[in-house]
Amino acid sequence: AGAAAAAEKVAVGALRFTSHAPTFIAYERGYFADEGLDVELKFFQAAQPVAVAVASGDVDFGVTALTGGFFSLADKGAVRVIGGLMSEHPDHDGSAVLVSNKAWDEGVRSMADLRGRSFALTQFGSSFHYMAGRIAEANGFALEDMRLVPLQKVGAMIGALKSGQVDAMAIVPHIARPLDAAGAAHIVGWVRDLGPYQVTTIFTSAANTTERPELVRRFMRAYARGIADYRAVMLDQDRDPAATEAMVDLIHKYVYADRPREKAAPSIKAGAVHLNAGAALDVADVERQLTWFKKHGLAPAGLTMDKLVDPRFQPAGE
């Protein structure tokens, strides 16, 4: 596209996580510039403020899990989902369900045993809350049969699990595996076994979708190239070690930047996640999530799929 003339200024909200790698790839490799976008990265410590910043117009695009707060902003007509990013995929490690040693010793061996147990989450209305709901549903008991403990931070959840103050939690694989290996906790199941799950989505302000659809389209094209690069290298890291190392170098500029590369590289590699090709959105699952959130009073009752999702920016195919 005609990039040269006057690149359009766009602000993208980012978190320093490997799951945001496509943003960094598209930025570093000039895919945004190719689309005539003059992107400025704005860094945040949590996903929710990104959504608020998009709502207030300080940022144009962001990536987030679907949460109660996000649904609320969508209901106010401030933000809309335009694509899917991370999802649970049968062929890849997604989030694992961990139980504490104490619970393990008491005989908790599977997700079905979690009835009557405590389950750590960051906050009510977060994706962890939803995962707890999926676990309960799939194993035939009510969400109320688990004691949900909000602990705000992943670090706090892990601390509580390790010290046996909560029985279970769900967490990304590159944290779950080492904990299991070190004997600090036990993996008793995987979230991917519960069925398809669209974990994070790409979103923008409602105003952008109506007033600047062309810009949104260009952004999505560039972003999809970033995803493609990531998938090509990180989902099979042994195929081309040189490319993998180059990718790690790129990501290390943004993630674990304060650690020496040799310390950071294993974490980056282990943190590889499954990203949807072409930023395709699993609309059916989004609808399922919305229904669940509404049912539990965590999303506004009046929010419809039309208001939440703008499907016009989906790629025609892979």
């Binding site: 207030s56 109660g68 707060g69 209305g125 706090a156 601390g159 509580a160």
Partner: protein
């Protein structure tokens, strides 16, 4: 005063200009309440006229509606009860410990050498940053919540108290010594009352900090509590409930300030 003044005016006499007075603000109860009420009315007006977008700040009436819902659901009492219990415990312990540490730092060279840098080093540590560690140290029960508030109030209290002790008139202390009062008596009867203005000022500050820290304290596994209510409202971006929760905290702050104002009037009556 006016009559004789007039009588003498024709002789070129005029009253001596009054230069005294002032510098003694009197409490004006109603003015304060009226001011706050006016402010809220103004805010409501701005919201109604659309000068404040609902995204930026809900109207006070919406927040009050959320508050009414909460009260009717019966949860308000539960939230309040849980939070007030934590506040009372954490703040009382923090204030008492702060007075003890502040007195020690104000009286003994060695205690000062230890306490002042320790306070300077530990006070600036944000409680929220340490939440993961707090869970391991104090668990996820009431202890961790009380501890959060305790640590938050202990440090400012210590600083205020030792500042106040430093400011106690040394000739009064010498007087106490000259009458052979025991060290303890001097501390109880001369140092403490002399530092009382600073202690009360420190209590004002630490009470507000304790209320602020409710939110941080109730981040960890709290089912009920005003802080937990606010956090949930924030997560769900329910700004009306958020503001309703904040209003509860403000009301707590006003109540504490009013109680401390009464205590000040009683305890500091000796001041001109």
């Amino acid at each position: 005063m006016s009559e004789p003044a007039c009588a003498h005016a024709r002789e070129g006499a005029r009253p001596v200009p009054y230069r005294g007075g002032g510098f003694a603000p009197r409490p004006r109860r109603w003015a304060g309440a009226a001011f706050l009420a006016g402010l809220i009315a103004f805010w409501e007006m701005c919201s109604r006229l659309g000068w404040i977008s609902p995204l930026a700040l809900p109207a006070p009436s919406e927040a009050l509606a959320a508050l009414r819902d909460l009260a009717q659901s019966g949860l308000l009492a539960k939230h309040l009860g849980a939070s007030l219990g934590r506040l009372a415990q954490g703040w009382t312990l923090g204030v008492l410990a702060g007075i003890a540490a502040g007195l020690a730092a104000g009286l003994f060279s060695l205690a000062r050498a230890g306490i002042v840098p320790l306070v300077a080093a530990l006070f600036p540590i944000p409680k929220i940053a340490l939440l993961p560690l707090f869970i391991i140290w104090f668990g996820i029960g009431e202890e961790s919540k009380v501890a959060t508030i305790l640590f938050g109030t202990f440090f400012p209290m210590t600083i205020a108290v030792y500042g106040g002790v430093d400011n106690v008139d040394r000739t009064l202390i010498r007087m106490g010594q000259s009458f052979g009062l025991s060290r303890l008596s001097i501390i109880r009867k001369i140092v403490l009352p002399g530092a009382m203005p600073a202690i009360l000022s420190g209590m004002r500050i630490s009470a507000s900090i304790a209320i602020i820290l409710l939110v941080a304290a109730e981040m960890i596994g709290a089912e009920y509590g005003v802080g937990a209510y606010i956090l949930l409202a924030g997560n769900l971006m329910a700004t009306d409930q958020l503001i309703a929760g904040v209003m509860i905290l403000s009301a707590m702050g006003l109540t504490v300030s009013w109680l401390l104002g009464m205590a000040e009037r009683r305890l500091l009556r000796w001041r001109a």
